[in-house]
Symmetry: C2
Subunit: 122 residues, 2 copies
Amino acid sequence: MKKQPKIRVPSIGQTDDDLAALAKALGHPARIGIVRLLIEKQSCIGCDIVQEIQLAQSTVSEHLRILKAAGIITGEIERPRVCYSLNPASLLPLTSLLNAVFGHGAADAPLPLIRGASNRAR
Amino acid sequence: MKKQPKIRVPSIGQTDDDLAALAKALGHPARIGIVRLLIEKQSCIGCDIVQEIQLAQSTVSEHLRILKAAGIITGEIERPRVCYSLNPASLLPLTSLLNAVFGHGAADAPLPLIRGASNRAR
DNA sequence: TTTATTAATCGTTTTTCGACGATGTACGAT
DNA sequence: ATCGTACATCGTCGAAAAACGATTAATAAA
């Protein structure tokens, strides 16, 4: 009834929907916990996640699914189990937005300037 | 029934709950849109937000409330209307997490290293 | 004082989430 | 072939989120 095409879409990717989806995927303590876990144990992790996050296996599986769907993590199958790892690149859009908030770069520049990474050479 | 105190709380602030709450507040297209709007029009904005975001006034008001509750924006009353602005500091925890994902700093260091801001002096 | 403007709040309805147990699947081991 | 392990998927249920219209509050302007 009130659905417009997508107003305010920035230069490259990063629609509001994209950004929101990304943030939403991080919008749960359990999922933040999983991300933290994957930061610590650099390498991937299997079912230990279920151990760490105090929730039922099916619930954790669901959270992993959500993170995977958002592209934040990847799951490599190593049969009987699955090895999860972070996919940092997926979070660049969010980083962009935050940079913009802090006054650096533009609100829609997909710049990877996290630190000492001068995009746009020179 | 399955409620532990808060496992995995990092050094300073930033519990998983805190981070999640922050991300959650950003987890909606309309709210991302509002943040973008506030980035562009540096200065604060009044009811124009309702104009930009194509949603009912009451709905937008609710989104503003959520962002305010998360500390992401502030609303200064300028009677008949209200002037909203971003509160960048509130997003530092998220920035921290992202930095950690990208391999910089620790997962729990509330460091403001967005760019050329060497925390921990060289 | 009346009217217009701008927001917040309330009540309702619909949709989406989160969590769980149970069940299913796909191996590797025995 | 049977069993055990590691996950994914399904169905359910209660809780929370999203969206609206209507109402109310608080002024500024007329």
